[in-house]
């Protein structure tokens, strides 16, 4: 493994790994730069907008070209008013005129779409940044047009070819003549047919004119009030009766307005209004109480890495107001509690008693806490895992993320139990949690944990409890 008298095995492990990693980075850097997408371009350029009927096939970050030279990239494709709004980022040293034309073209056999700009006249004013390119053509139209044109051209050329074949030579001339002859015959026949049917045609036309005359007559009769329909529409009586109905309707509404009649009274009475109003308020209040009063049932499990066991919490959270709640909790702690017991053993007739530190597993603990919230900060106090304690909660991202610091078990002969946790709720009812439990433990209890929980509002419980005074 000698390279120029220098043996690789002389290098320290760190140096070897370092050289290796650096070689990797250099290759990565080289490839990135060649691909040109991580260049050191500080030039941000400017943006212009352009609306296309369709941006089908166009992708973000494809190139924008003028005369085959890349002058920028497509930075965004959006939908606006049913049109595709394409935002182009153009290098700042490129000048675009107001009458520049934009079109989407496809390239190569892969058919990748890109944007082509066709510069306008040098006399036109410049487009300023964030301006708009007005003139566009969509590639698909152009393409299909080109396709159709191509087909048409092919057909035409085929046609002319066969024409040439047909016309060429005496044979062709003869057949042409016969065609013309037969055409003449057809025209003559047509003429004859028309003449023979002349009378019938005239009859049809007179019928038509008679019909229109009749219609004319009927409509004029209606106008004059003659006939049954005419009478109905023109009768004065009808109009009078209609008027009467309208008048009585008007009378009724006026009566109601004045508070006359039972309905009117009901509607116009002050008391009624008050009654209704107060009813509405009380309903409102009730609804509001219902609204903010919540009861949550929550289960969470935390996997403690150190003891490799799961600590479970079953919580009932009663929340009478938005900023206040009570919490009752049962904790199943697998790491248990340290206890001191005396063990008495008898060996060879001699009884000895010893004081032993013991680890009781799966101990059930209880918590009962009161919590109050001020804006994004929550304070909690009470019983934490069967000992006194308090906690801070900090709510972030619309309460989706909660950071908590709990302190409890202020035993005089050991450090307090401090716990930090972060709860994240990606979906309703479900959350994940992670943190450090007992992180200043002097008994080696500190442990990183991750876990998950599920909580739900108990609707039945809610209605039942909202009627109790809190």
């Amino acid at each position: 493994m000698g390279i120029g008298g220098f043996s690789l095995s002389n290098l320290s492990i760190e140096a070897k790994v370092g050289v290796f990693v650096i070689i990797g980075m250099i290759i990565l850097g080289y490839m990135s730069m060649r691909l040109g997408k991580l260049g050191f371009k500080m030039d941000q350029g400017f943006e212009v907008k352009v609306y296309f009927d369709s941006a089908s096939g166009l992708e973000e970050d494809v190139s924008v070209e003028i005369a085959g030279v890349e002058v920028g990239r497509v930075s965004k494709i959006l939908l606006e008013d049913g049109k595709a709004l394409v935002i182009l980022r153009i290098d700042s040293n490129v000048k675009l005129r107001k009458d520049v034309k934009a079109l989407i073209k496809s390239r190569g056999i892969l058919g990748d779409k890109y944007v082509v700009l066709i510069q306008g006249s040098p006399a036109a004013p410049l487009i300023e940044p964030n301006g708009r390119i007005i003139s566009t053509t969509t590639a698909t139209d152009l393409e299909s047009l080109m396709n159709v044109l191509g087909d048409v051209a092919k057909d035409i050329s085929r046609l002319t070819q066969s024409f040439a074949n047909v016309m060429g030579g005496e044979k062709g001339e003869a057949s042409l003549r016969s065609i013309i002859d037969s055409m003449k015959a057809v025209a003559e026949t047509l003429n004859r047919t028309v003449q023979e049917n002349n009378k019938g045609l005239v009859k049809i036309i007179t019928n038509l004119s008679e019909f229109s005359a009749t219609i004319n007559e009927i409509s004029s009769k209606i106008n004059k009030g003659e006939g049954s329909i005419g009478k109905l529409i023109n009768e004065e009586d009808t109009v009078k009766r209609l008027n009467g109905t309208l008048a009585s309707l008007k009378e009724i509404t006026e009566k109601i307005n004045r508070g006359e009649g039972s309905l009117g009274k009901l509607i116009n009475e002050e008391e009624t209004v008050e009654n209704i109003n107060s009813t509405l308020t009380s309903i409102n209040d009730y609804m509001q109480k219902q609204e903010s009063f919540r009861t949550y049932l929550d289960y969470r499990g935390e996997y403690l890495f150190d003891s490799e066991e799961v600590k479970s919490y079953l919580t009932l959270r009663i929340q009478p107001r938005e900023d206040k709640y009570y919490l009752l909790q049962i904790v199943d702690d697998p790491s248990g509690v340290e206890s001191e017991t005396d063990i008495t053993t008898t060996t060879n007739g001699v009884t000895t008693t010893e004081h032993i530190e013991k680890n009781e597993k799966n101990k059930i603990k209880f918590s009962a806490q009161i919590a109050k919230r001020y804006y994004d900060l929550g304070l909690r106090g009470g019983i934490f895992e069967s000992t006194g304690g308090f906690a801070f909660d900090y709510y972030l991202f619309k309460d989706r993320l909660t950071l908590s610091l709990e302190a409890f078990d202020f035993d005089s002969d050991s450090n307090a139990h401090l716990k930090f946790k972060a709860d994240f709720t990606p979906f309703k009812h479900l959350y994940i949690t992670s943190g450090f439990d007992d992180f200043i433990s002097d008994k080696g209890n500190e442990s990183f944990f991750i876990g998950a929980g599920i909580n739900f509002l108990d609707d039945d419980l809610k209605t039942l409890l909202s009627n109790l005074p809190f």
């Binding site: 150190d306 003891s307 053993t345 060996t347 060879n348 010893e354 530190e357 013991k358 680890n359 080696g444």
Partner: protein, 242 residues
């Protein structure tokens, strides 16, 4: 110091330890004797928490280690040194690195100081000249002695030896016995030794425990064991004497 209370352990359906009770006195040498395959090594691994019992309690220095989690167990184990029956040297490391391993892990000594201790310990087991060899280049007896040096490198409070003299020649056996006695005297540690060598057992032990059919059938000073009228103990001593 070390207390085993009603320890039972079965592998599959084979009962190896059966409600075994044993008290090991602090700062003394206790030798455990018993049949091959009788469960002595299993018993020793219970004491250091490598095997957990099916039932019963193990108490080390007033701490019940039966249900302790790995991290707390590691704290307790810092008091221990152990020589495995097959030495269990790390075969990716040299002899010197093996002996230095516990020192590197649990002390803040400088490299020089560590080297000094390593040389000293290897000297004690008569192996100062193999410090740069790999374990695979050593004989079985040499490996065992390196394991011994590693077990006592930190001068731990409790040292467990699984057959420290098996596979050694008589002279080396004697010197290892002397080393054990001297080290124990110096460090005042608790030694638990498994041995098949009944003669050396009686010279080095403060206390002898006899394991038979999953139970400790006799405990006592060498003299008490010698005069025991337990039939198995008698047979065992007689057979090994020959």
């Amino acid at each position: 110091m070390i207390k085993l209370i009603k320890i039972s352990k079965s592998f599959n359906s084979q009962k190896v330890l059966d409600e075994l009770d044993l008290n090991i006195d602090p700062e003394k040498i206790t030798v455990i004797i018993g049949q091959s395959g009788g469960g002595k090594s299993v018993l020793l691994k219970h004491i250091i928490g490598l095997i957990r019992p099916d039932s019963g309690q193990i108490i080390i220095d007033k701490i019940d280690i039966t249900n302790l989690n790995d991290k707390k167990l590691n704290e307790v184990r810092k008091k221990f040194g152990m020589l495995f029956q097959d030495a269990a040297l790390f075969d990716s490391m040299t002899v010197g690195e093996n002996v230095a391993f516990p020192l590197n892990e649990h002390t803040r000594l400088s490299r020089k100081e560590i080297n000094k201790i390593v040389n000293e310990k290897l000297n004690l087991v008569g192996l100062e000249n193999v410090i740069h060899k790999m374990p695979s280049e050593l004989s079985g007896g040499m490996r065992k002695r390196v394991g011994l040096a590693r077990a006592i490198a930190l001068d731990p409070k409790i040292v467990l030896f699984d057959e420290p003299t098996t596979g050694l020649d008589p002279i080396m056996r004697e010197s290892v016995d002397e080393l054990i006695v001297a080290t124990q005297k110096r460090t005042k540690a608790t030694f638990v030794i498994i041995s098949h060598d009944i003669e050396s057992t009686f010279t080095i032990a403060h206390k002898v425990a006899m394991l038979y059919q999953g139970k400790i059938v006799a405990v006592g000073t060498p003299d008490e064991i010698r005069s025991s009228n337990n039939s198995f103990v008698k047979r065992f001593i007689r057979d090994l004497r020959i």
